[in-house]
């Protein structure tokens, strides 16, 4: 049974699970310093040079599992002692170079940066090289490698650099908290802060939902997660943790699709506001386009607002694939509606901290939203929903030209064009993660089938139209 993509995720999970376990038992403070030893017992190192370093890093992971550095507002943090200070040399010739005769590398290099030594082995003159990568592509032996740190490569907004000790540092003025580096760092040296302790505290103090009710609002990408069990069993598991009930964020997406379609028809040009990392990206890199960000709250904030207005003393926890949501819920305009945010990884840790095996549970039901609300989880879904929203409101005359952007690179291109007024489109659907929310850093697994899973889940919705799903909310 494969629950995670990587062993880094598994390690992070073990820490979260142990912290949660201690918190449920009210023994966290007592056993805080023991947790690294519980996770790495014995004297033999399994990951690093020695158990002491392993435990030192685990202590840092425990801190992050408990909410991280309160002085750093970003929910993404570097664990400096975990950073392996990977090479950063750029393109380099390795000893796989056979000293051949063809010299394709030399011919393709427009800068004349390739020279050969007395063994005919290639060398790159760094003063001339512009890191274009052409030589690496043509080498028949694959002897030229690109030494870029995985964190740097994953960070499409170029927020990661090195400090004087060659440790990774995040520029919070650029970082959009998408979590790509968290998922990509092979040493697990970058982590998202966790608010599981707040969630456990809220659940405990609700005294089984008698003091106040605790609602879980789940992202539609959940359809592609916990694939070892049925979705209905996940819902049962969430309730077994002590949540009063589970509501689909996709219902908020239905509401957004309707409102956004109307807003678009009125304003003529809009960028979506669902993805907090995309919104943050516009504000940080394209401030001139900020006025065109849809004024709608995100789907989860929209449904949570509805719920809080009906029941002001309830607590709402968002469970999703997204690390940037951990920033969104702290914004002034969202703060009143969402009490905390956890990821699917953290939900798995919470299940196991309580010994809840969801595969053994009965299947509960989850059905609030329409097909269109549910497909927000994958790239292109929001555009489809806005198109439908225009249709259902009799606004078909508006000529929708949606530009679905899959990943922050695509977002950048569309925003650049829009800023120069050469974009062929009037609605930018921006999703920072590759594939949309199903590619989120807080997902347990990322796979080819995830998009199909979301579409399947969409089709299972009882309501086929957006209006049918939201008509009950009037």
């Amino acid at each position: 049974m494969r629950k995670f993509d990587t062993k880094v995720q598994y390690l992070k999970y073990k820490v979260l699970r142990e912290v949660a376990r201690q918190a449920w038992n009210d023994t966290l403070l007592e056993n805080l310093l023991e947790i690294p030893k519980i996770i790495v017992p014995g004297k033999e190192p399994t990951m690093r040079c020695c158990v002491y370093k392993e435990r030192a890093i685990l202590s840092e992971r425990v801190k992050l599992a408990m909410g991280g550095d309160p002085n750093n507002h970003n929910c993404i943090e570097v664990i400096d002692i975990a950073c392996d200070e990977c090479p950063i040399g750029g393109y380099e010739v390795t000893n796989a170079c056979r000293g051949c005769l063809a010299h394709r590398c030399e011919d393709v290099c427009k800068r004349g940066a390739i020279t050969f030594d007395h063994n005919h082995s290639a060398h790159i003159d760094k003063s001339k090289c512009v890191e274009c990568g052409a030589c690496a592509k043509v080498c028949p032996y694959g002897a030229i490698t690109d030494n870029v740190r995985p964190c740097v490569r994953s960070c499409k907004v170029k927020a990661i650099s090195m400090d004087e000790d060659r440790t990774a540092v995040i520029d919070n003025d650029k970082c959009i908290s998408c979590g790509a580096c968290v998922y990509q760092c092979p040493f697990g040296a970058i982590m998202d802060k966790s608010y599981i302790l707040n969630v456990i505290d809220m659940l405990k103090k609700s005294e089984k939902n008698s003091k106040y009710k605790v609602y879980a609002v789940v992202a539609p990408s959940i359809a592609s997660q916990f694939t070892y069990a049925k979705l209905g069993q996940v819902v049962s598991g969430i309730k077994a943790l002590g949540f009063f009930t589970v509501v689909e964020a996709a219902l908020g997406a239905d509401m957004v699709a309707f409102a956004e379609a109307k807003e678009l028809a009125e304003k003529g040009f809009l960028t979506s506001s669902c993805c907090p990392a995309f919104v943050d990206y516009i504000k940080k890199q394209f401030p001139d386009l900020a006025p065109y960000i849809s004024h709608n709250l995100s789907p989860v904030a929209t449904i949570s607002k509805y719920m809080k207005e009906k029941e002001p003393d309830c607590k709402i926890i968002f469970i999703g694939p997204c690390t940037a949501k951990k920033m969104e819920f702290k914004k002034e305009e969202v703060k009143p509606y969402i009490d905390s945010v956890i990821t699917f990884e953290e939900l798995q840790a919470l299940f196991d901290s309580r010994g809840i095996d969801i595969t053994l549970m009965n299947e509960d039901v989850l059905d609030n939203a329409s097909y269109y609300g549910r497909i927000f989880a994958r790239s292109g879904g929001l555009s489809d929903a806005v198109k439908q929203g225009l249709k259902e409101q009799g606004l078909e005359n508006f000529d929708l030209k949606a530009v679905p952007c899959d990943g922050i690179d695509a977002c950048r291109i569309a925003l650049l064009k829009a800023s120069k007024r050469v974009l062929d489109g009037n609605f930018i659907e921006g999703m920072a993660c590759s594939g949309g929310c199903i590619g989120g850093a807080g997902c347990l697994t990322h796979g080819e089938k995830n998009k199909a899973e979301v579409d399947k889940y969409g089709k299972e919705a009882m309501e086929k139209n957006i209006y049918d799903a939201i008509s009950v909310l009037k």
Binding site: Y215, V235, F244, T245, V247, E248, M307, N368, M462, V472
Partner: protein, 79 residues
């Protein structure tokens, strides 16, 4: 008078949308918009008895088939 209909998953699958829409229609038809407030909630903890409806905190089990009868007896007669 405040009518609350559960629109949580379980009641939704049992037809809470039809119940809500029918009540919206009946309230409008009887010109009760000023006197009756209709709202939704996600779960009343009695999923077995869905579609769950409360009228001023008194609980009723309603279905799309019985909503007209419920409205006449519990809403129209008492408002």
């Amino acid at each position: 008078m405040k009518i609350t209909v559960c629109i949580g998953s379980s009641c939704h699958l049992k037809g809470s949308r039809n119940v809500v829409e029918e009540l919206q229609y009946l309230i409008a038809e009887n010109n009760l918009k000023d006197k009756v407030e209709l709202g939704g909630t996600f779960c009343m903890g009695k999923c077995q008895d869905g579609v769950c409806v409360t009228v001023d905190d008194k609980f009723y089990s309603v279905s799309p088939e019985t909503v007209k009868e419920f409205f006449d007896k519990e809403v129209l007669a008492k408002v």
